[in-house]
Amino acid sequence: MLESLSQLYLPGAVTLWAAVIFALASMWGYSLVLRGDGGSLRFARLSYNFFALAITLASLMLGLLLMMRDFRIEYVYQYSGLDLPAHYQFAAFWAGQKGSFLIWLLWGALIGILIKRTAGRNEPMIMGIYTLTLMGLLFILVRENPFVMLKQTPLDGQGLNPLLQDDWMVIHPPIMFIGYAASAIPFAFAMASLWRRDYDDWAARAFPWALGGFLVLGCAILMGGYWAYKTLGWGGYWGWDPVENASLIPWLLGTVMIHGLHMERTKGRYRRANYILAALVYLSVLYGTFLTRSGVLADFSVHSFVDLGISGWLVALMGGFAALSLWLLATRLRHVPTKPNEDPFLSRGTFMVLSTITVLVSSVVIAFGTSTPLVTRWFMENPAQVGPSFYNKVNMPIALLIALLLAMVPYLTWRGDDLKAVLRKLLVPGLFSLAVTVTAAAWGGVHDPLHLIFVFLAGLALATNLHKTVTRARAAGIGAAGGYLAHVGVGVILLGFLASSAYDESTKVTLEAGTPKKVGDMTLTFTRFIPREGREKERMEIEVVRGSERFMVYPKLFINDRTKQVMANPDIRSTPFQDLYVSPIDFDPGQPQLQLAKGESGHLGDMGVRFVGFDLQAEGNAMAQMASGGPVTIGAVVEVTQKGGKTTTLRPLYRLNPTNGAVETPPMPLPGGGAIFVSGINASESAVQFEVSGVANPARLSIDVTRKPLIQLVWFGLYIVLTGGAVATFNRLRQVRKRDELAAVVAE
């Protein structure tokens, strides 16, 4: 909806409109350059810089409004509050849809400044298309303006969703959006290259950007996994949730693209495929955004956003860029010169093609699974979705194949190889991997043949790539070994995936305070409840005794003051070989209280209680006492049913002295020991609150205790992959710079 001017915070809104004008001016300037007017280049660049400046200013403004808690602004009201600590105050920026589109646009606009410098001779077309991708986001923001004001200024905001009040919220989303913004760069380079029929230059220039985007998105996914695992208590690092998948699919496609670009750079292969891949990466980001932001999955995801009414825009955006890509691919692709495929089967070329196809298939299958609610809408009465088991199942053969291919690639050459020679090279790593597999079978409890093959292949991939990393780094410096290093990480991750997902043991157990309980080879005792201390929330102390080892874990379970939501944070005891993951589920403080209206019944501990009604003649006539203004005594008639089924009627008293407000509630002894008393009377609901005392009624804590073997390998492996990727990125950047230097020398 378009708001009338009075409903907008004008400095912010005007800045956004100015950004639209500068973006259009820049595109117009670049189009003049394309028509041969070289003098317009300065104008086009300057306009772009002003566009980026306007977006930066708009972002700063929203940030400041959030910091100043200016609740006139609807967005500030919705996502901030007076009690919100300062660092979350800023994180509220990307808590909602509008703010997250703005930060995405901000990163995109800033990156654009850098692209201009590296775009080379095709800058006008590249910048034109790149700015067009940003315009899509900008239009959404102009339509769903973050600077909408409320008619009245509320005193306090609604606060930030307590689930998001976490340190990861400060860092994870902005990095994710850098990754999303970066996906438009190879797209712009590729489409511009097709448009201008200038097929030779783009791959080298887009390569470092593609690698950089892959790295940043990888970091963001890693952080999201940490967040889910360490604080959200979802039990794992990956839940195949649509929002998670929406970032994984572009990352996998990006992985395929960087391998395609590598092949193009080194062997001149994949020249046509890379155009398709660059388009797919960007379109998958848009598609993921559509799935998670349009509300189509609102019933299916734990953290999808609700519909903001932008579905139509997102579909148009996606459709527009898909149409542009399809048109360019359809009209130009067959003119892109390629070399015929003459690789023998057993060669590096063929194996790289096979592994990229395998990753591509994986991303297609994941995209298909994530789209299930959309797809099933067409042929089923009610839309449905697939659970994690689908993804785990179909990705199993893919992982096996990837591990096998990765294990072979280091020992294959571009020319082609003799099978015997390759097998001979594989002998030593094979023995290493066999040792790993035997260890897993003998001591790790891995007996499933498929899992043993998995361990062997992942171990083999790890070993051969590690060998090659070392030899390459020795021969040509570490810069040349980035790819192999990343593949070592893939082997490590695969081992971690299998161990932590197929071999975790989870037990749900309820602990009574002070009573030790055996869970597997551990003895757990819920020792005490620790009340809130400053910023530290309510914690549960659990003593764990395992063999001669004794330690405490402190999972948290607390109620958010604002929303009354029960929040649970797990505690993790990490050891090199396994994590002990203790996640609280439920807590019963053990001092039962019960409020009942007349005729209602309920439970106090294991005792059934029915409130029959008031006894107004307990100690004289209560009505007369009230009328006289003196002390009043009311009796509450309750039927108490104790364990064993015996029911007794009791009349606990409630004495009130209206002159000084003193309340006396003598406990009424229960037949089996202990006593029941009236702890309050709720006049407005004519209900009575009962409590019991003196009954052994310990606090109860329900927890989920999970052992996750070798989960450290997942994190460790991802670090290796990202380090390898970083090494490769710097290496490619250096190559582009050298090429440009050389070109400059030649030109002189």
Partner: protein
Amino acid sequence: MKQTYRYYALGGVLLLAFAGFSLSSFKETLTPYVSYKQARDADRIVQVAGGLEKGSSKYVADEDFLYFTLQEPEGADTIRVRYKGLKPANFEDAISIVAIGQYDEGAKEFEANKLLVKCPSKYQGAEVKEYG
């Protein structure tokens, strides 16, 4: 050249095989939303949704079983659900509950292995939590 085509054919066959495998896993893991009547007749894993019938929930701590009755949102049909696991927090306040599982003919109960409990929340209308 002939050999290249053989590779393409082989690759095509492998891809087709994989597509078949994914489709069968897809069908297997797909859990359609069905009415209670359909759920009672189905011989596969399905999802049923509904509201909690007041006062129907019972948690048996020794066996770790939660029993409750769901009421069909439109219509008067009810279904008794058995869920192995702890009773979710705020369970009684649930606006709607989705139970994923299979009907047990013998016990005349819907055996849920997963629950999605939608509770009222100030944020974004409602909050869905997953159990099981």
